[in-house]
């Protein structure tokens, strides 16, 4: 795949923000993986390492004062880019009361209502109608917002996806459906279980334009999302992006990923979304290797501080058990 990184077209601050967001995700996720190994985090923990450019590039194209994000259980990256404090995120993974859901949601259920990060959903495809409903509210209230709805390649065969696209089209809802095709629905390669191998054509059945995007290229993700968001905001029309990406780790922490080869993983590591952007910026003298190293060190520290915060935080009291069942 030939890639273009026209970094010279962008402000340095914007490029740095993209780079920083991706490094933030990478370092926090690596730390979460370590903490899982130390049994500080339990249950299911789905890491976003390798997919950083998708959340980073797409959320850079929206305005979270009026736009919304809903995603799956692989939600750490989206939450961080939406502005969730890494300490609050880590505390939630640790099940601490200082977590975003007071320790009652965990890794799969990160929510930040104020920042319009509407979860964090655990059932494959089940949140796609919810996101469509948020878009219905925007249209009903005649607001200016747009919804970004993320899901994986595993979700695309769920009825909820197809039902949602149909409704979004008949009601002209301002939503961008984003399939993060990391190529494996848990341990099953997407080509084995899909009648079509290019998902982006699927939305055509509902009269919704679809486009395939290189998910290792954060600038391409940004540009294509920006176009889709513009169409949603200005014309109130839904669209669909299939963003091809790759996760370096298993489906969840308990998955050794034996269904793929070392060579395949290595091939994608050579296309690392962070290094691709960094190298393009270094090549055009926008940053130096030393500056990048400083950024990386900064976020290693942020990840360590997040763990410290989570460690020091209290567990919820038993009285929390019966809180927030009902409003």
């Amino acid at each position: 795949m030939s890639r273009v990184f026209p970094v010279e077209k962008y402000e340095k601050d914007f490029l740095l923000k993209l780079l920083r967001d991706m490094v933030l995700i990478r370092r926090v996720e690596e730390k979460a993986g370590q903490m899982y190994g130390l049994q500080k985090i339990g249950g299911f923990c789905h890491l976003y390492i390798g997919q950083e450019a998708v959340a980073t590039g797409s959320i850079a194209a929206i305005d979270l004062t009026k736009d919304y994000v809903l995603t799956t259980y692989r939600d750490h990256g989206h939450a961080l880019v939406c502005g969730m404090d890494p300490g609050v995120l880590m505390a939630e993974l640790f099940g601490k009361v200082t977590g975003c859901a007071k320790g009652k949601g965990g890794s799969m259920h990160l929510f930040d209502r104020e920042k319009h990060m509407y979860g964090g959903h655990g059932i494959v495809g089940s949140h796609i109608p919810l996101a469509t409903g948020v878009a219905l509210k925007i249209k009903y209230k005649e607001e200016d917002g747009v919804v970004l709805c993320y899901f994986g390649d595993g979700a695309i065969h769920q009825g909820a996806f197809h039902e949602s696209l149909n409704m979004a089209k008949i009601w002209d809802l301002p939503i961008v459906y984003i399939c993060e095709n990391n190529q494996y629905g848990m341990g099953t390669n997407y080509q084995k279980v899909s009648s079509v191998h290019d998902f982006y054509i699927m939305s055509n059945s509902y009269g919704i334009p679809g486009k395939q995007v290189d998910g290792m290229n954060v600038l391409e993700v940004y540009e294509e999302t920006k176009k889709a968001v513009k169409q949603a905001r200005e014309q109130g029309l839904p669209s669909f992006l299939e963003i091809k990406t790759y996760r370096y780790r298993g489906h969840s922490m308990s998955d050794p990923a034996k269904y793929r080869t070392r060579e395949e993983l290595e091939e994608y590591r050579q296309q690392d979304p962070i290094l691709l952007l960094k190298n393009a910026m270094v090549e055009k003298n926008i940053i130096t290797e030393e500056e990048y190293k400083r950024i990386d060190d900064e976020y290693k520290k942020v990840a360590n501080q997040a763990v410290e915060f989570a460690e020091k935080s209290e567990e919820p009291g038993l009285e929390a058990l019966y809180e927030d069942v009902l409003a």
Binding site: F111, P129, K137, A160, E163, S164, M167, W171, L326, A327
Partner: protein
């Protein structure tokens, strides 16, 4: 006081609440142009327009989820399921999303939504279109469940359900839509979670809700002729359930029969039976009796389908059993 049908009472509740709060919308199959599969929403499209009365495709999971998402974002949707038989297609949305959103977000979200439609057996509809599914919903923390049996209760409870900040499952009945009753013109609300004594008596407590209320009332009239005074507790709300009213009645009559048109296993009837057996143990003069539907799918044949459901005869028999006569 004006006498109106159960259907008109529901319509009037939705109409008043839609007029009161522009965040209230109605969506579902055939709710608009067709005026509702059972004509509950008749006239609402004309009055409030297609923006607020939304005809959906036949996609129960999809439009139920759309309603829940809209509720998370600030609207107060009423989702009409053409019947609860089709709600099974939407169970994931109700159980995994509506009921849990508040808890798993640490209290960040409320989900003010009503899921309503006809539940329970009708006539000649066979196994897939004639079933009482309340147990599925009553089981789930994070939901409220109500099942009014009269036009008065239907209107007051639906208005409360629409104003509630939680997901409320609202059970109606195809055969109940034409039932008539007194409903005042002035506004009123009935709080969710309060049972109602529909008939006072001293010899036996009959606990019931929804459509079997009529069976219980007919049985009570028959029993009265035989000198037996039955008290009828209409639960109205199934979750939360009004334990106090049930216990107070049983402590007075010392005998309890529960009439429930759902299946017997893990049901409202079995739960209330356990509660009464445990918390009124010292007051009971006989074991609690349950009258439920038979433990079979609904047959099409009319004689068989009637035999599958609670009846006046079955209730009288159960009452006589707890009275040892």
């Amino acid at each position: 006081m004006p006498i109106i049908t159960y259907r008109e009472a529901l319509r009037s509740a939705m109409d008043e609440e839609m007029a009161r709060d522009e965040n209230v919308i109605l969506l579902g199959e055939e709710v608009g142009q067709y005026d509702g599969a059972y004509k509950v929403s008749q006239g609402l499209l004309d009055k409030y327009g297609p923006k607020r009365v939304i005809d959906t495709p036949i996609t129960e999971e999809g439009f139920t989820g759309v309603g829940i998402g809209a509720a998370m974002a600030g609207l107060r949707p009423i989702v009409e399921w053409m019947t609860f038989n089709f709600s099974i297609m939407a169970l994931d949305q109700v159980i995994n999303n509506a009921a849990k959103m508040r808890y798993m977000s640490g209290g960040q979200f409320k989900v003010p939504i009503v899921f309503r439609g006809p539940n329970g057996p009708a006539e000649y509809l066979a196994a897939q279109h004639s079933q009482a599914l309340q147990s599925l919903f009553v089981h789930i923390p994070g939901l409220k469940v109500v099942a009014p049996a009269t036009p008065y209760d239907a209107k007051g409870l639906l208005k409360s359900a629409i104003r509630d900040d939680n997901p409320v499952v609202f059970l109606e009945g195809e055969l109940m839509y034409s039932w008539k009753g007194e409903v005042p013109e002035e506004e009123y609300l009935i709080p969710i979670g309060k049972a109602d004594i529909k008939r006072e008596g001293s010899d036996v407590t009959i606990v019931t809700y929804s459509k079997p209320l009529r069976i219980a009332e007919q049985a009570a009239q028959e029993l009265e002729k035989q000198g037996i005074q039955a008290e009828i507790v209409d639960l109205r709300s199934l979750r939360p359930i009004d334990e106090e009213t049930i216990y107070n009645s049983v402590k007075k009559t010392n005998r309890c029969v529960i009439v429930d048109e759902s299946w017997p296993m893990v049901s409202v009837a079995s739960h209330v039976g356990w509660m009464v057996s445990k918390f009124c143990f010292d007051y009971l003069d006989a074991p609690v009796e349950l009258v439920t539907s038979e433990d079979v799918p609904m047959p099409y044949n009319h004689k068989l389908e009637l035999a599958a459901q609670p009846s006046v005869e079955k209730v009288i028999k159960a009452v006589k059993k707890v009275l040892y006569i």
